[in-house]
């Protein structure tokens, strides 16, 4: 088997600036991202600094071209900043190789994408198990955790369904289950409701609110105000800079639209 050193045995990157369990799970410091398209330099991010606390529910908003996707790629460790620093859960990603970034994504980030991005022709359960497969978890353990995660998003009765047999809202909830199954430091959702109707949008946002109420950090990228209203803090980007950053609810409290109750009992739509 071609395998880099085991994920378990690799020592964490030394980082004297960050204590063992920092209050801020995301620290973005003066991050600049510049793309070169032929002769033209595109400044996608012009020095963004942002700190996100553990347990917060943040919506990052902005029109297309505002740099929010670039910021999300950097926060999601899919891309590295041109300059500036990014610390995720106390780990500085600067200078990491592609495979090291893959490990960071695997352990610390739960992705939810606009187009669901489930693996086709693969059951909901297998999709949720996938990140744990890459984490090298035993079959029995990841099966248990995947089942638990699917129950949490209210799809206990849809585990053996293929993505093509599920509605958009259900598919997105499978994606959320996949994101939370590894117990990551943050859940990073990129326009998670962009492809959903209003009912499904409400369903999915309830799941996010609930996860946040349970203490998970959620970072949401969206351009819809009603979606952003679910968050405790709204950050607006324009032309690669933060133009607005305001808090609507305290970090420690419940998310503004969380009505309590369990999603699981609502069943599938």
């Amino acid at each position: 088997m071609i395998r880099l050193p085991s994920r378990a045995t690799r020592p964490p990157a030394p980082n004297p600036a960050a204590p063992q369990r920092p209050r801020e799970v995301i620290v973005v410091r003066r991050v600049v991202k510049t793309y070169t398209l032929g002769q033209i330099e595109v400044h996608a991010l012009r020095g963004v600094s942002l700190g996100i606390d553990r347990g917060d529910f943040v919506a990052i908003m902005g029109a297309s071209g505002s740099g929010k996707s670039t910021l999300m790629n950097i926060i999601g460790c899919l891309d590295l900043p041109t300059s500036g620093r990014y610390l995720l859960d106390g780990v500085d990603v600067r200078g990491m190789t592609e495979d090291e970034l893959a490990d960071v994504r695997n352990r610390k980030i739960g992705f939810v994408f606009q187009s669901f991005n489930l693996i086709p022709r693969t059951t909901a359960l297998a999709n949720v198990e996938l990140p744990m497969v890459y984490a090298g978890m035993s079959k029995k353990r990841r099966r248990e955790r995947a089942e638990l995660a699917l129950e949490r998003v209210g799809l206990a009765d849809r585990m053996d369904h293929l993505p093509s047999e599920l509605s958009g809202g259900q598919q997105q909830r499978v994606a959320v289950a996949r994101a939370i199954a590894t117990n990551p430091a943050i859940i990073l959702a990129d326009e998670p409701t962009g492809n959903l109707d209003s009912t499904a949008t409400r369903e999915v946002m309830e799941v996010f609110s609930r996860l946040n109420a349970e203490g998970r950090t959620v970072v949401l990228i969206t351009h819809e105000n009603e979606v952003a209203d679910n968050a405790k803090r709204i950050v607006r980007l324009r032309d690669g800079e933060i133009v607005d950053d305001h808090r609507t609810s305290p970090v420690d409290g419940p998310p503004p639209h969380f009505r309590g109750g369990t999603v699981a009992t609502r069943g599938a739509s």
Binding site: R3, L78, R107, F111, N117, I119, P120, T122, V133
Partner: protein
């Protein structure tokens, strides 16, 4: 992890069965063809060898210069016309002397009568060869009888009017190859001969029908057909063993040269046909032929490999998004690499196994009259090469998949 990759790869293959089946088919044909072609080549070479061995590998045939020219016998050089003398009874006596030729076991002069027509109750037939020999000929040329007996030393001593027939002649004279003609009187030109034996059928040796023959005692031949003044046509010799044929051949050449007062500088006027060397030449020919065919079959295996690569490239392009998802949720480069590599190897592995099965089934059929004989190493080699082909042609597409940047792959539509 490798188990997981295999599971994922099988899932990938399963999701596009027709395409996978066609790819496997191309490998199947390559592997099956290699196995079958090598088996056919081996089978035909075995068949020719057994036919030549039926002549007796210890056998040497000596003829006067030019008689067997072009037959490929070792030392076959044509004597000039002025030197042509032929094999005489003195030569035979000299060769029978163990001091001259210790490696000769048996020896029989052969006289051939041409244009002899046999007739029996209105059926007429001209045997391809009508020869007069000594009783030892049966042993030398490996001509056992299936009915009756071969000519005996009494026949030779008494100029007995007897004949031993090959099955082709029996069929032509008596209407059936299985007819028992023992005791029947057959007219050969002006001489009436009694059939005393039928030779066991030997089939064709690749050059002539060995069953189209009538054999009579040498003395009878000289008395009734050819006379004894001309030289013998041939000398059939059996060496003491297969390994001493070359030694026997040298002894014959030197004895005859001495007998005819030929010097080392003058050309040898006798041809000695060595069955062992004929066997070698024929084996070499069939070997070359087999190698050529196997090379063509191997090319089809290569083409199958290119098919695997093509399909894998299509698969990688098709699943770019999936690769992006896998990478986003934590798949490393080696994970993706092994996933697609396992898929490519799996395709060629199944194709190879089916090819081996097809080859093993195929050898049970006769192909162009040849019974294929499987060569075990060809099976192992063809299967092994098919695996390597999958690995080799899978590396490029798999590496391409593994090198995709997750953000680009995720954005791919």
């Amino acid at each position: 992890m490798i188990r997981e990759n295999m599971r994922i790869a099988i899932q990938g293959i399963n999701s596009n069965r027709l395409r996978a089946a066609l790819t496997m088919l191309s490998i199947l044909i390559g592997v099956g063809a290699v196995i079958l072609v090598v088996a056919v080549g081996n089978g035909s070479s075995k068949a020719v060898q057994s036919r030549i061995q039926a002549l007796g590998t210890n056998t040497l045939v000596v003829s006067a210069g030019g008689g067997f020219g072009g037959f490929g016998g070792r030392g076959a050089r044509n004597g000039t016309l002025s030197q042509r003398v032929g094999i005489t009874p003195q030569d035979v006596t000299a060769l029978q002397d163990k001091n001259n030729a210790p490696d000769i076991k048996y020896l029989s002069p052969v006289r051939t009568a041409s244009s002899v027509t046999a007739s029996y109750q209105g059926n007429t037939y001209s045997p391809a060869s009508f020869i007069g020999v000594l009783p030892a000929y049966s042993q030398i040329r490996n001509y056992p009888v299936q009915l009756g007996r071969f000519i005996s030393s009494d026949d030779q001593a008494n100029n007995a009017k007897v004949v031993v027939l090959g099955t082709t002649d029996v069929e032509n004279l008596f209407g059936s190859a299985t007819y028992n003609p023992i005791g029947q009187q057959v007219q050969f030109n002006a001489t009436t001969l009694t059939v005393v034996g039928v030779l066991k059928s030997k089939g064709s040796n690749g050059f002539q029908d060995q069953d189209d023959i009538a054999i009579i005692p040498l003395s009878t031949m000289e008395e009734s057909f050819t006379g004894s003044t001309t030289p013998y046509n041939q000398l059939a010799v059996e060496a003491t063993s297969a390994s001493s044929t070359t030694a026997a051949q040298n002894e014959i050449t030197s004895t005859l040269d001495a007998d005819h007062h030929l010097t080392a500088t003058s050309a040898t006027q006798f041809n000695v046909l060595n069955q062992a060397s004929l066997l070698q030449t024929t084996s070499a020919n069939t070997h070359t032929f087999t190698v050529l065919l196997a090379a063509i079959a191997a090319i089809s295996l290569l083409v199958g490999g290119i098919g695997v690569m093509n399909i894998m490239l299509v698969t990688v392009t098709e699943r770019t998004r999936e690769i992006g998802i896998r990478k986003a949720i934590g798949a490393r480069k080696p994970d993706i690499l092994s996933q697609f590599l396992v898929e490519a190897v799996f395709l060629s592995l199944i194709g190879g196994l089916l090819g081996v099965a097809a080859g093993l089934i195929g050898v049970h059929f006769k192909i162009d009259g040849t019974k294929p004989v499987i060569v075990p190493i060809s099976v192992i080699l063809a299967f092994g090469v098919s695996l390597l082909v999958g690995l080799f042609f899978g590396i490029y597409p798999a590496n391409r998949a593994a090198s995709l940047r997750p953000i680009d792959a995720l954005r791919y539509e």
